[in-house]
């Protein structure tokens, strides 16, 4: 069943969109939750009618919370719009699981890694698990609970393990481990640099598999629970970090255009989930903490391909990273979703043209 919640006169467009972002991960048993711009209604499709009453109450709570939040709109920094009207596109519209996507992912990552090396980055390889204690340093679980995948394990305890022979549901014997699945590669870099005093700026790059708990109804196409990211992490004084972010943003924007993609760069914020953190998101927008590269797909849909972050001292401080110069240690990172780039390339230009374009700059 569909439930439509009117927001006109109560929420601005940006407030309504912020509410929908929260509801997307806040309503169990739904098929979709979208904002209908034309009617200014939040539209929720419930899987089971019996969930609707509780769901409506949740919508009301989230809308009430959103109405008290000052939401600034995003600002576009650069734009490369398509000159033709949206259509089907020239390339494939299938998911990224196809063989050609594997080749393209490797070619794209090779190109991005070279780009990172050109700005002085050193290679790193990290695992998929990361300690909860590391993530606690930056309050990840409290800031982004909707994204977290915690890891369970069976205790190394004979009395418990022997019960597995007879237990019908083995999961009742599991417990939370000290790890979670890593939601972004850069946290490993911060942990590596933790408690270090740096004599010179550091630039690291790594590709890795990242995990985020997406609502079941949203998973598909370019939205995955498990995806590949190439990141570049940089630490130094404020000027170094500011300059490095701009430099990488320029180069990746050039690559984006060279590959025949359309879209824009805009200010963005991290998806802080709880309303109490909404001011953090607003400050990120005001301070230009995060810029996002958004592709405009052939059918008119938009897809975020990566972000360019300058987080000032907000991560160096909790990770106890300092500079021998005595200046405050700042940091930033560029994070690029390889699967989404490939998805966009396949839809926009097709695999052959994409491979040629990537190869030409190798």
């Amino acid at each position: 069943m569909n439930y439509r919640h009117a927001t006109a006169g109560r929420l601005s467009i940006d407030q309504a969109r912020a509410a929908v972002a929260r509801l997307a991960c806040g309503l169990p048993g739904i098929r979709s939750c979208v904002f209908d711009l034309s009617s200014q209604e939040i539209v929720v499709e419930f899987d089971r009618p019996e969930d609707a009453d509780e769901g409506k109450a949740v919508v009301e709570s989230v809308v009430a919370a959103a109405s008290g939040i000052r939401v600034a709109g995003r600002r576009v920094l650069r734009r490369a719009p398509r000159s033709t009207r949206p259509g089907r596109g020239r390339g494939s519209t299938t998911t990224v699981e196809r063989e050609e996507a594997v080749d393209l992912t490797a070619a794209l990552d090779h190109r991005l890694r070279k780009l990172a090396h050109a700005v002085g980055a050193r290679d790193r390889a990290y695992g998929s698990l990361i300690r909860l204690s590391t993530m606690a340093k930056c309050d990840y679980l409290k800031s982004f609970p909707q994204n977290a995948y915690l890891v369970a394990e069976f205790p190394h305890n004979w009395r418990i393990l022997e019960r597995l022979e007879d237990e019908r549901d083995a999961t009742v014997l599991a417990r939370l481990s000290e790890y979670m699945l890593c939601p972004a590669v850069c946290f490993h870099s911060y942990e590596e640099l933790s408690a270090r005093e740096l004599a010179a700026p550091v630039v690291l790059t790594a590709a890795g598999t990242c995990f985020r708990h997406e609502a079941a109804w949203r998973v598909g196409g370019p939205r995955l629970r498990e995806f590949s990211m190439r990141e570049v992490v940089f630490v130094g004084d404020a000027d170094f970090v500011d300059g490095m972010r701009d430099r990488l943003m320029d180069q990746i924007w050039c690559l984006f255009r060279q590959l025949g993609l359309f879209g824009h760069l805009e200010t963005a914020s991290d998806p802080f989930y709880l309303p109490g953190d909404s001011m953090k998101a607003q400050y990120q927008l005001m301070a230009g903490v995060k810029y996002e590269l958004v592709a405009e797909l052939p059918d008119g849909e938009e897809l975020a391909l990566g972000s360019f972050n300058n987080v000032g001292d907000t991560l160096c401080t909790p990770f106890d990273i300092s500079l021998t110069s005595g200046a405050a240690a700042h940091s930033g990172c560029v994070a690029l979703g390889l699967d989404r780039w490939v998805y966009t390339l396949l839809r926009e230009v097709g695999s052959n043209a994409a491979r040629r374009a990537l190869g030409s700059g190798a």
Binding site: R70, A72, G73, R74, R75, M279, K280, Q282, Y283, L285, M286, A287, G288
Partner: protein, 100 residues
């Protein structure tokens, strides 16, 4: 412009009143700033002093912006909501003046 203890900010009616003078704007902003930064009422601000050095940064900037919007009955355009516009008393007054 010093703030006085007896001065009370009033909420202007945007449809009626003529534009306040720059001095009046700065005085009202200064009172807001002092409150936001937990400084004594009547604190004098150098018009070009970096307010981040006085503690106007991160989340309290947002609280201050919301307070300013209430004070002057305006909603700052998205493109003006950037940190440099809230760096000094001078830049804030210029923004308010341009938005009224």
């Amino acid at each position: 412009m010093p703030a006085t203890a007896s001065w009370k900010p009033s909420r202007p009616d945007r449809h009626v009143a003529s534009q306040p003078s720059r001095a009046n704007l700065e005085e009202r902003i200064a009172i807001r700033l002092a409150g936001q930064l937990h400084l004594p009422t009547g604190t004098r601000f150098d018009r070009d002093q970096d307010l981040a050095e006085l503690g106007l940064r991160s989340l309290n900037t947002i609280v201050f912006v919301i307070g300013l919007e209430e004070e002057f009955g305006v909603s700052f355009p998205d493109e003006s909501l950037v940190v440099p516009n809230f760096r000094t008393l001078n830049t804030i007054a210029a923004l308010v003046e341009a938005t009224l």
